[in-house]
Symmetry: D4
Subunit: 223 residues, 8 copies
């Protein structure tokens, strides 16, 4: 299917309207794509754009990417690769990325790095889970400074509700698949967050730091 493949790259050129429509740049979601496919799409995008972001990028994908864009940077924990930085409006706006535990950090980094690349200031506040609330209270003033709060938590995901009851900013909850057996791949934290008793909490997909960042960037772009 060589012609098809070129069509696909042609398409990539055609979607330069995504930013215009949605206020967010086009991004390559690497899961299920070969390194060659990612590199090909990246090459096409970079012909027209100076910024590129690839989510769920393995190191192998990054190597392929670097072949077409030597200036590409790789954020290992965040599994994110990028070229340049997006010119976002409202760079003054601040996003707090909060985790319940150290084990949630990889997903939090995906959110934080993505938000930074998309032009926001980020404050990382990690390991302040509800088993030791004083840790959360110690950082609460910082969290309250943010315009949007992303809460990343596995296990029972209770941190989202607790933070939701303490801050004025909207809270985006990211359930993670961290935990013992009945976590069921993040289902426990997901259901917990969806049922939050605190108002002003909404939820993205399990382990999806990337989607949380997109939502946070859109929210904090409001004029």
């Amino acid at each position: 299917m060589p012609e098809k493949y070129i069509d696909e790259l042609n398409y990539a050129m055609l979607d330069s309207s995504r930013e215009e429509r949605t206020g967010l740049p086009e991004v390559i979601y690497c899961s299920g794509k070969t390194p060659e496919q990612v590199a090909g799409i990246a090459e096409a995008i970079l012909k027209k754009e100076s910024f590129l972001l690839a989510s769920r990028a393995s190191r192998e994908v990054y190597e392929a990417l670097r072949a077409v864009a030597p200036e590409a940077v790789y954020y290992e924990q965040a599994r994110t690769a990028a070229v340049g930085r997006w010119k976002a409006p409202r760079q003054d706006r601040l996003i707090a990325v909060v985790t319940a535990g150290t084990s949630d950090v990889a997903i939090a980094e995906e959110a934080a790095v993505t938000a930074e690349l998309l032009g926001r200031r980020v404050n990382r506040i990690y390991d302040v889970g509800v088993a030791g609330l004083h840790r959360l209270f110690a950082r609460l003033p910082e969290i309250r400074e943010a315009h949007v709060v992303i809460v990343v938590a596995g296990m029972e995901g209770a941190l989202a509700s607790v933070v939701g009851g303490l801050v004025k900013a909207p809270v985006i909850a990211v359930p993670t698949s961290i935990g013992y057996g009945a976590n069921f791949g993040g289902l426990a934290a997901l259901l917990s967050m969806l049922n939050s008793c605190a108002g002003g909490v909404s939820v993205v997909n399990i382990d999806s730091g990337f989607n949380a960042a997109c939502m946070a960037v859109k929210i904090s772009g409001i004029e």
Copy 2:
């Protein structure tokens, strides 16, 4: 337990800090409470506040409420009762409430009425599901005017993704329990929305127009 009950009302007085902490007023969630309990809590709140909102209120609950607050208003479709209107900042901000079908209107009304009572302008755009995309496109300019978009959809919930790919505003998706058998009480739409391929979509609980409104009010309150 008459003493306990009074304690509870005492507590209600004590939580006057909710608004200060979270930027949203205290609200009575009526499910699982007797009309008498709702009325008792309402009476205690109204001693201190001029605004009251009761979600998931049956007509029976409303009657009990009117006994202690004759000026209370009832929004039948939205199952919401209220006294007064909250003094929100940023009343200039606009929320679009969009539904896929007519059957989703009750949940949408819960969102719309709540948002209005909490001080936002609301534009209702109903029955623009993806089975007939031209209906959505006809209303798209209106939707694009909003600062936040709430998408209410049952069945497969595809409207959230489609809208998410067409607007700059953040999208809050509300899955509803409308549909045939394998909808499984809203699970189909819920999973669909959580897996949205469009960036900038987050999700609240099934049939929870109220939570969507809280999130939208918080988002649109950003300075």
Copy 3:
């Protein structure tokens, strides 16, 4: 099957060893039994014992019970009927029954009434959910006095983890089926509690205030 039925009552007489074996008296679980069956079993038990407890008893069951035991008392919210009070060891021990919301009170009452009938002191601390943590902190000294803490919560059940991180006593978590759609009949709170990040929390069945009380009575009976 009239002979069978008598056999069944004969058996009831034979299980007088339950108390000896398990340290808890025999109890009638009324779900799925006709009022007549409950009354028949009660009559047989009361020939040998001065104490009787019937859980999940409807008012109709209670009426049938009163026909054979006029001194029976009915606790409506707790759906529990009883004759007398059990002679428990260690009546000095205290159980705190804590709820997240007012809607969880019926299940909490089942736990509290059962524990009281089984010879424990009970302190009810209702409506201290995590959406307003200051309510919990205001009652924390009381909770810390208890030898065992029962936490009853629906929605996301986060209260169990938060309490678990604040007290020395073992925590028994009771998920309730209170909440919006994706609560899935209590599944959300159940999974949340099973995945609690705080050590020293264990869980009983959804809406099972009765089992929580049994566990708490056994724990607080330790010498």
Copy 4:
């Protein structure tokens, strides 16, 4: 069990009536079979037939197959091996295979290759998901030319509903297991497609491009 094995091959000879009964040739489903078993069955079929199709064939299976049928061809992405091409009626009929993303291409190729081998013309239209509807609209005239449309999509699977509302041809939806956590191995897309608000959409098993092709071939064989 050497005698049994021969029986099995004898059976294979006996099912030459499948084509007569169902209008589709016998096919080897390779999952759970050893390369030797596949080769043995293939050998028996090829004694009587000039066409052979093996689905879910690994490269290892293909190597074993080539030992008994050197002319066998392997379609790597489609995990499909074949000898010859089936003599189908109505070769004029056209099937469109449409995917939401590049990550769905492997499953789409299974559908497309199978349909081609079974005697249909196929038009591949890849990466036209609902996050950028203009891509879909650009290809819509082509899709509308097809007699049957196969829509392959993971994540929330919304593309099936959108296409279903835009074309006259019947739509066969194939959910894929592509996506983040709450995709639950394709469950999200499966439920989404089953609940499609558009009429004229039916669904096959997760990741089953092969079954979609069989259905499409049967449909497009109608006189």
Copy 5:
């Protein structure tokens, strides 16, 4: 919202393009709509069209419908109301509606009545489940005459696979919620049909005779 309501009816006028786009007329799905809403929409449609179909219509809905369209007919078992009959192409094409048991007849009637109203000939072949295969074989010649076969089955849904292995026509499987406990509201039959070992079987939502009919009408409309 009186203005909104009119908008909605305005929209209904605007969707007269559905037939042009999808080859199927607009239909009112009555679940979750009040009888008044259904009647209002029907009135608007009938101003422009001579044919009207309302699915999932209760008798109460039908009464409201008759007030605006006295010639409306009601099919009780099928829960379907209609005015007139749609002018379909290819009225020569035949659809077989096959059920496993008598208990599946209501869903089968929804499929059969819908298909007839949409201009197809229908042959009803009921109660030929796999527990007594001779019943199926006795009717097999009739089933083989059909251009499309709809198989309606609850319990284990095995009939879909068996029919799929015996006919040349494409098979549309409709799982029903008929059965004992572990049927789980039709889930057992749904999964069974999705996993059919026979090629050329696709599946619609649980209890959705309507969607099966739409798919069958689209398939049998192929030129």
Copy 6:
């Protein structure tokens, strides 16, 4: 814990009453046990018994077993190791092991080998799934000779119902985890078999050829 381990082996000696109680010999279930543990238990059993059966035995386990029992035999497909053959009553009784496909053979072999080792005659009838019923009918006379029929099937598991409607012998259904995505690890076949419309079908755990054989041996041991 060396003393503990010996206790454990002592216990093994003590359970020589299993055969007396249940009519079946003690068996070692190897999953989750180290090769050393299996060998140790085997050694203890063989001091008292001349027959040994180890289910779910990997080749590694078999090697460890052969060190303590050089005469041990290994059935690779069946993942079963054994020493000797059990002296069963009623060796005249016949068990038919029937599979839907070739992919189900490994589980079927576990059932067949186990039943043979436990003293029954077994007739293997493989690959007679419902997609080609004539294959089943060709073997039906043989199946009807059996005193018990074990049906092993993955995918939709329809074969159990079909066989159940054709034979006088009781049918034991074994769902397998063979199949495409929505098989969900055997859940589809499991639910299908539990919901069988044919009387006289009961079900064992997914992939549990061993339990099917135990049940079949018990049934066919009836005097």
Copy 7:
């Protein structure tokens, strides 16, 4: 559809071969059928047979049945109606029906009455659940006399495993939907029984006393 209905009754005449094929008589499963349909089918059967059994029969169904068969008998708890008694071979064989609790008796009666009507002797042993094992041991000698044991249990269904480890007869386990929240309509007992650690236990559908009886009758009919 009056002609259809007659066809259906004609069919009923045709299935007189069920007994010949499966060794069990034809039975009317009443769920989802109207009383009129049941009566019509019954009338057709009784023209040819002297025995009739209707499962899941409501009292309303029974009244309709009595109109065509005045000698019909109704077993209320078992929800079973019958005319006559089937002439079974091996009436000497004994089936034990064992329940964990009094709440499981309705399902147990369905099994017991069905087995008796199908010509077996039945011994009812009710309320011997594992919470008080001495009750089970007191009845164990009786249970050991049976040729087949049916164990009916809700909640955690542990009784099936315990009985399975104590008797030589094959055990048929019937999960019931009795229990608190996380029973999930019988799912807990179902999974528990499928995972029984005792060999020689197989499982039928939730609450399906009828299927357990069919299996038990088939097993105990073995020569």
Copy 8:
């Protein structure tokens, strides 16, 4: 983020209040943490404390730990590493750790080792599952000596209910993921234990020997 990392270690110093609050020392949960992270946190804790416990520790983690704490001990089966032993009150109290099978021993060891390190006496009673109740009865006197009983069981988890009906001590049930297909990763045992018919049983997460030990230590610390 080197500064962040130090913050994190700073936090570790700050949570020295955990013991004061909850009566249990701080513990490192190693899942999802790199060996370097674990070692870093351990180093910080050991600056202030003489006791350290790391759960879910791989051998690789242990090696990293030994680099900062050469006296660290590793319990392989229990996947637990430790430095020193905690000074618990009430070292006279005894915990019985009971397993159904040998395959459950790894989880049981996690419970037993943790409880010992936290200052309790432990009696291990392994492989006394309900398939052979005499094994349990042989050890029952020992079990009855314990102040708390931990029951570890996979498959159907029936042992928890049986023990719950035989002892006065509170029972903590730990479901394990050991078993065949429909165990669904421990779900079967989990639901079984939550639905236990015996009073005084509560449940922790699947495979979570660690949480069971924490609960048992808290319970047995009651004065």
